[in-house]
Symmetry: C4
């Protein structure tokens, strides 16, 4: 087994000037929620799985009792109308566990992007504020200055020196390493308290992505998930302040 192993379902799809949209686990699981919602809604098709020695040595159990080795997954979607573009979508169970693993993994993903003809990368993540927010803004950072102006038109926000710690993980590295290899890229970070998974922040990110991709993505399911999480957050608050005496219904929704 190599450090990274690919498992392809048939031939690589032939795509026309596709863009990559990445959403792996992270703060508030914003990126993963957004890309998974997109995959479901637009009915993107899985064409590859990726296994990596830097993921935990772990299998998950499907509802039918069978196991799945932890992995990342690649989907594609072909443009249906004018002004739309073909998409490659990346999500998964984990990011690499170590620094070196993250670099190798992202380098490997960029190599696959080149094969697929991808030249533009959109990475999605959360920006943890540590406090509640009503209407999450979507912060943005790009590989090239021309993209800054373009993204502002779609509603993305640029705040000087924010996030102060930069972007850590695959969402940052895909742009950082990608830029060195000739890719253009944008990272969208949905503001989130960062305590729980945050479908509301994922919705804000997808709102901008709809505008960029000219794809109509129905956000209703995310809104419903957001309400569920809000109820959980409410219950947690009541427990903390002693106002709740039943916690039976409470469970973590991933």
């Amino acid at each position: 087994m190599d450090f990274v192993t690919h498992n392809y379902f048939g031939k690589l799809p032939t795509l026309k000037n596709p863009i990559l949209i990445e959403g792996l686990p992270g703060i508030g699981n914003v990126g993963k929620l957004a890309v998974e919602h997109m995959i479901d809604t637009i009915k993107a098709k899985k064409f590859a799985e990726l296994y990596c020695k830097d993921f935990p040595p772990q299998v998950f159990i499907n509802s039918d009792g069978t196991i799945e080795l932890v992995k990342n997954e690649f989907y594609f979607w072909k443009a249906k109308k004018e002004k739309q573009r073909d998409l490659v979508l990346l999500t998964g169970d984990y990011q690499g566990l170590s620094s070196q693993g993250q670099y190798e993994l992202v380098d490997n993903i960029l190599a696959l992007c080149k094969k697929l003809g991808v030249e533009e990368i959109y990475t999605l993540g959360g920006y943890g504020l540590g406090h509640e927010i009503n209407k999450p803004k979507v912060l943005c950072a790009t590989t090239h200055k021309t993209l800054v102006t373009a993204m502002k038109k779609h509603g993305a926000v640029f705040k000087k020196n924010e996030p102060g710690g930069g972007i850590v993980g695959a969402s940052g590295l895909l742009l950082g390493l990608g830029k060195l290899q000739g890719f253009k890229g944008v990272c969208f970070m949905g503001e989130t308290p960062g305590y729980l998974v945050d479908p509301n922040s994922a919705k804000a990110v997808l709102h901008i992505l709809k505008s960029i991709t000219n794809i109509d993505i129905d956000l209703t399911a995310l809104e419903e998930k957001a309400k569920e999480i809000e109820q959980i957050a409410q219950q947690l608050k009541e427990i903390e302040t002693g106002g709740a005496d039943k916690v039976e219904d409470l469970k973590y929704i991933g």
Copy 2:
């Protein structure tokens, strides 16, 4: 020295359609206890040792004063009757310490399985409940859906979404990586409080394995061990509640 080093005792055994049964250290040491008990009872023969740079840099001391480098061990057993199958049994002192080491080690073990003609893998482990149980059930997960039905007939239990965290370590990875390489596999997880080594849970696992392998495994020795551990658990409880004033006899039994 390579990452993994094999030490063979003579030629590899010639086996007919053998199955692998793995039990390495883990929660409650359930898997290791079960496989070691099986090896002793059926008088399986050691044919290989495996050393790995991802094990701790450690030797154990035998009762005669000589040392043993920490290792994994392979045994084989040949079917004596109809409806039995040849067995390869794997146990050892440690699993790999790092994620990457676990992947490489399991990949290496699968390569040896292929050489031996193994196509089916049974991995044994414990499922930590964090509370006491009277009659441990044996949870199960498989590589293929057809195996789910088959295992239910032998008394294995499938609970939707359990274990919620999946299976971590060699027992999971042998199935996860194995499935990608064409193996069929089953993991049995004996319920256990998870505080002490648990011969009682190992017994429950072996009970199912008897049914699957059509081998008569005498479980008396495990029952005795279970009684010893029960006494220790009882003593520990008395100490906690202040009811014990003598702890001299108390020692950890591995």
Copy 3:
């Protein structure tokens, strides 16, 4: 991507008997502050960037909204007068995260030094005292005994058995590995409390470097930064002792 990746801006500069001056992040950020100040003041020119899998998987965000992969940077400066020498200057965002990474990275930097004709290395760092000091001394250690006498003349201090723990990180390793490969080298460690970034200690280090390099380095900007930090330290002290009720102006200056 290799473990270390270089990104050159044009051809390597042709230098005459150059010396390397290194200042990477560390205690009080003394070395980094000193080298960055030197680069700004003498208008040294960047000729290479270095990326490494042992840096964090992280990008920083520029004030214009574009990202930068974390990196080390090489600058050069050509002598303007007699008694001056050509310089190579090294600074950056991070040192290697792991022991092995530090060794590989420093080995890689030494290889670049050889290509550039560097035979002498000056490494800059801080020596954390854990208490305040008025006038930081600059401790010194060298690869060769002849350099001890030479450095004393420039005002460097040698204290027997100090630092007792030796020098950890790139500043030490560049000399340690360098010596084995035929380089001469000196490490200057500015005394610093070690709590905050310390421009005052950086100034003390540069004072000696001015004497060695015969380059006039204006230290005014560092003095101003030192005053800012002093105010912050004062505010922090007041908060601790309860004397401050406003912390609005307080922010960390990197």
Copy 4:
């Protein structure tokens, strides 16, 4: 730079049936103290240094202001009389930091042993008891059963199942990996409280080694060091019990 780098002082010594005696840092620094004392007393000659990427990225500072990269060191000594044998002695600043590094390092040391004609290895260490002892015994473990009888004659003690955790680190691994490669070996573990460096335990270990090697090793200097440490231990105890009001003289002796 390779994972391990050797620095030889001239040609490898030509030795006749030599034995390796290893004493690297560990519990109570017993092994290192013993081998260093032996090197000093018998005036063994350094012939090689070994640097390793798995040591910390660190240099120590000599009393003359020059630096030394952290390392391991090899010495040799030629037999002067009948019944004596040529010796290779190994000591150093550190053991490998990681499990994998320990395996690679020990494998590398064994390769050098083969070149030198070494077939027998004596490793020295401490056995931490966690309480004070008057007369430290020397526990022993060997690669081969015949050595058990031989070592008992020299005063070494074998206790069933002790140390229960086996031997961790280079002292264990040199025997464990060595045995697989055809070496014979013995590990001596001097009992020690394990709180401070323990020259008294080192003395006990050397007492047995004198008997084995037929070399007269003057132990006076170790006895003096032991008295110093005893005084320190006494002072520490007084501080703990509030009986001391002066701690000026107190410093750690390495």
